[in-house]
């Protein structure tokens, strides 16, 4: 009854006022899910929060002659939810490469005007539906229950598979089943992919980076039910946690790198390798080589006909991946971390990566673990691996695949070096987002890419002062933010529908967080809240609302306006100094005379004063703090920091009065480019001409020459 009255009243109010509340500081209630027993209004897991568990025992054989994976798995799925489950869903990710997959069908394109071979090849392969066909995808050979009578049939729906349970799986119960399969490994260099093979033609060798290689359980939770949104290629993964026991059978001359602890090193490593590994566990300053380049070059000359089986166990991970090659050089070092156990940082790379990789890979891994654990939680796994894989960057728990190759003569440019360190930091960083703080990538790319790119920026700056970071600083997002609004999606857009993926899901959220930290909240409040989010949601499944709420709840800063503006709209920052009115003591002669002595003393009116009214205009739409720098006539400067709440009543124009003791010569708004203001030409009083890039270039070039050279003598 009461509810009804409220609704009627509110309808009445809207009728009367004739407008909706569009104030940029209105609360986010309409956007965030209603808090419940699973997720609280404070952003923490609720008292009845649950998550499912999937444990895997996998035997997988890598066939180097046929470039094929054959696998068997026993999955134990535990229903921790309060709901009886009538069916189970698994992900068959390899099916994106199956003949006739939707991924290719829904790809759009145009016929190129260029008629050269490259373009033709590209067009046919990429868009030529039915033309270029690789026989990929899972070939299932067995899907059988082990738990008696659990199910008799299953249904494959493209990249998803449903097990049709005979009776619902009750809360607290578990089911065990066996799946067997094989698939042809895709050539990454020909048809792409997050995993696959790279072929080294000159020496007839392969380097395998293997992932999404087994049918994986979908997530079932309070937010999505079953997350069984089809895999089209871009929106990545959502996976439950579990324990893995994996046996990998590979040619006996291969070195295998994988998620988890190696359980049978005596069977697969030489005595020398084991003792080098022991030494690495106690070496904190430099990587120790376990397989040297010389040894690897010797091994890759021949091919073993026998196999070896490597056994890895991993606890509480959401996935498992591995790499295998006879080309691998292998190094490792130990990393100390505050409040956590020592961790091994490791790298596996072919000679083509050296000397760049032996110099930087493992060190970049170590730096990532140190920085990320400082801002989130101590790294909880025993190791973090970086594997060299041409052209890609892709992450899995404890292991990631990263590009970066040297020229044939072993040289490399700064550009290649920084590209490689950047990708290593980024992919190792993904151990935290989304591997540990396990958000739903299929739904929200920014939750892992954005948060990860933000910490990647901090790590890069700690790896080296003035590291040439591509994303993070406010001014680097300006070009994107000032683009055509018709081409910009809000950050809160599903992964498959985002325009300008890199800017939208990586650059903008990372920059938004960096600005929030440095310009809005301050490092202390931000860092505490961000860490709290990581602690609360480590080994759980957070949603955007859990992040937004935690950042507010833990810091005591109302951020609804910030989330709304930066994450739910495509507005940009363009704040202008519209007008400045100047007055000084002389203008108030008459009024001053009328003040009594007490008033005069209180206002310290024996000193000079100057009064400035500045009218600020919000052109871009995003409300932001005002950073106002006065430069006085004597050359000194003072900065006024005014919180964004100055816009709380009028969002598009505000006036502010400043009383200064010294006469002001000029005024600058956001002079150090900390708000991502897209047009700084309206940020100065009096108007200031900012030299253009080309003018600066001409000056620089001119300075390289003497005056006589400049005049042509």
């Amino acid at each position: 009854m009461n509810k009804l009255i409220v609704i009627l009243l509110s309808i009445l109010v809207f009728k009367v006022s004739g407008q909706e509340n569009v104030n940029k500081f209105r609360q986010l209630k309409d956007k965030l899910a209603t808090p419940n027993v699973y997720r609280t209004a404070s952003g923490a897991p609720g008292h009845q929060y649950y998550q499912q568990q999937a444990n895997y025992e996998i035997d997988v054989v890598l066939d180097d002659n046929r470039q094929k994976i054959t696998g068997k798995e026993v999955v134990t799925y535990i229903n921790n939810s309060p709901d009886p489950l009538e069916y189970l869903w698994l992900q068959l990710d390899q099916n994106v490469r199956a003949k006739g997959s939707d991924t290719k069908k829904v790809k759009t394109g145009q016929i190129s005007k260029n008629k050269d071979l490259n373009t033709l090849y590209y067009t046919l392969k990429t868009f030529g539906e039915g033309y270029y066909e690789f026989d990929g995808g899972f070939k299932l050979t067995k899907v059988k229950t082990i738990t008696p009578n659990a199910f008799d049939s299953f249904t494959v729906n493209k990249t998803m598979m449903r097990l049709n349970l005979n009776k619902p799986l009750a809360p607290g119960d578990s089911v065990k089943f066996r799946i067997e399969w094989y698939y042809n490994i895709n050539d990454r260099m020909e048809i792409g992919g997050r995993s696959g093979l790279e072929y080294f033609r000159e020496e007839d060798n392969y380097l395998y980076t293997i992932a999404q290689f087994y049918p994986r359980m979908c997530v079932y939770n309070d937010v999505e039910g079953w997350q069984n949104k089809q895999f089209l290629g871009r929106g990545e993964f959502a996976l439950p946690f579990g324990n893995f026991k994996v046996n990998i059978t590979a040619p006996s001359d291969h070195i295998v790198a994988a998620t988890g602890d190696l359980k049978n090193q005596k069977e697969v490593l030489t005595k020398t390798q084991i003792s080098r590994l022991e030494k690495a566990k106690k070496t904190y300053d430099n990587p120790v080589l376990i397989v040297t380049q010389k040894e690897a070059e010797e091994i890759e000359k021949t091919k073993a006909t026998t196999t070896k089986t490597w056994t890895f166990h991993a606890a509480n991970v959401r996935d498992f991946a591995f790499a295998s090659s006879r080309k691998f050089i292998w190094d490792a070092m130990a990393v100390k971390q505050d409040g956590g156990d020592d961790v091994m940082a490791m790298s596996y790379y072919p000679k083509e990566g050296n000397p760049l990789w032996e110099e930087h890979s493992t060190r970049a891994v170590a730096q990532t673990l140190r920085t990320y654990s400082k801002y989130t939680i101590p790294y909880p796994y025993p190791k973090a691996i970086s594997v060299n894989a041409k052209q890609i960057g892709m992450e899995y728990p404890m292991i990631c695949f990263n590009y970066g190759r040297c020229e044939n003569d072993g040289t490399y440019s700064d550009r290649v070096k920084y590209g490689m360190i950047t990708v290593v930091i980024h992919e190792v960083g993904h151990n935290y987002f989304p591997m540990i703080i396990n958000s739903d990538e299929r739904q929200w790319t920014w939750m892992d890419e954005g948060l990860n790119t933000y910490l990647q920026y901090l790590t890069e700056q700690e790896y080296q002062e003035d590291y040439p970071s591509r994303r993070g600083p406010a001014h680097k997002i300006v070009d994107y933010m000032k683009g055509d609004k018709k081409m910009i999606s809000p950050i809160m857009t599903n992964s498959e529908s985002i325009w300008q993926f890199g800017n939208n899901a990586y650059g903008k959220p990372a920059t938004a967080l960096n600005i929030l930290r440095e310009t809005v909240m301050g490092k202390e409040l931000f860092d505490y809240a961000f860490k709290k989010y990581a602690q609360r949601w480590a080994f759980k499944h957070p949603t955007p609302a859990d992040f937004f709420r935690t950042m507010e709840d833990a810091s005591g800063v109302d951020l609804d306006w910030y989330w709304r503006g930066w994450f739910y709209t495509n507005d940009h920052v363009d704040i202008a100094i519209k007008k400045v009115i100047e007055k000084d003591k002389k203008d108030y002669k008459k009024a001053l005379k009328e003040l009594n002595d007490v008033q005069k003393k209180a206002l310290k009116l024996d000193e000079d004063f100057f009064i400035y009214q500045i009218d600020f205009e919000n052109i871009g739409g995003l409300v932001m703090p005002l950073i106002v720098e006065f430069t006085y006539e004597d050359g000194t400067k003072k900065t006024h920091y005014i919180p964004a709440e100055i816009w709380k009543l009028t969002n598009d124009e505000v006036s502010k009065v400043f009383v200064e003791k010294k006469k002001v010569k000029s005024i600058a708004l956001d002079p150090y480019l900390e708000t991502a203001d897209t047009d700084i030409s309206n940020n100065y009083y009096p108007k200031k001409v900012v030299p253009t890039k080309i003018e600066a270039y001409k000056l620089k070039e001119a300075q390289k020459k003497s005056v006589l050279e400049r005049v042509g003598k």
């Binding site: 490259n118 373009t119 090849y121 590209y122 683009g483 055509d484 890039k693 003018e695």
Partner: protein, 162 residues
Amino acid sequence: MLLKNAYILLVAALSSFSLLHEYYVSITTIQLHQNGAVDLTFKFVAHDLEKAIELETGVAIQVDEQDQLTDSILETYIKNHFEISGLEEANYLGREFNLDETFYVYFTARYDTTLSKFNVRNTLLLQTFEAQENITHINKGTTQKSLSFKRNLTNYTVNINE
């Protein structure tokens, strides 16, 4: 990033990876000075531009390499894809690469100061990237006109005095 084989780059264009490189935004600034001089600044993301040039010409360049061949390939590519009416003597001035992958190419030119109407065509990178957007600013005195070029929107007529 350092790939010499065109086919490999082609594939890169169709795969999506965790560390995304495609940015799909370029910025062109045309500064018309009162004395008839024109400054043209093209800002790209370096690897996007390299990929586009390689796809179109089959030639793999590295914009951080200082050689005249790279200069002439860049000049040709930009002149093929960018046109503004009424401009004369467009000269390639130089380029600047930064390790954060931003890349600038500069041209200078002359124009007839009595002109106020310009036809602008900008097809830079558009064939390569579906989501490419080329923001183009034309400045004269205190007037600024901003245009946004996309696959299905490659020509504009702009009047700087309006």
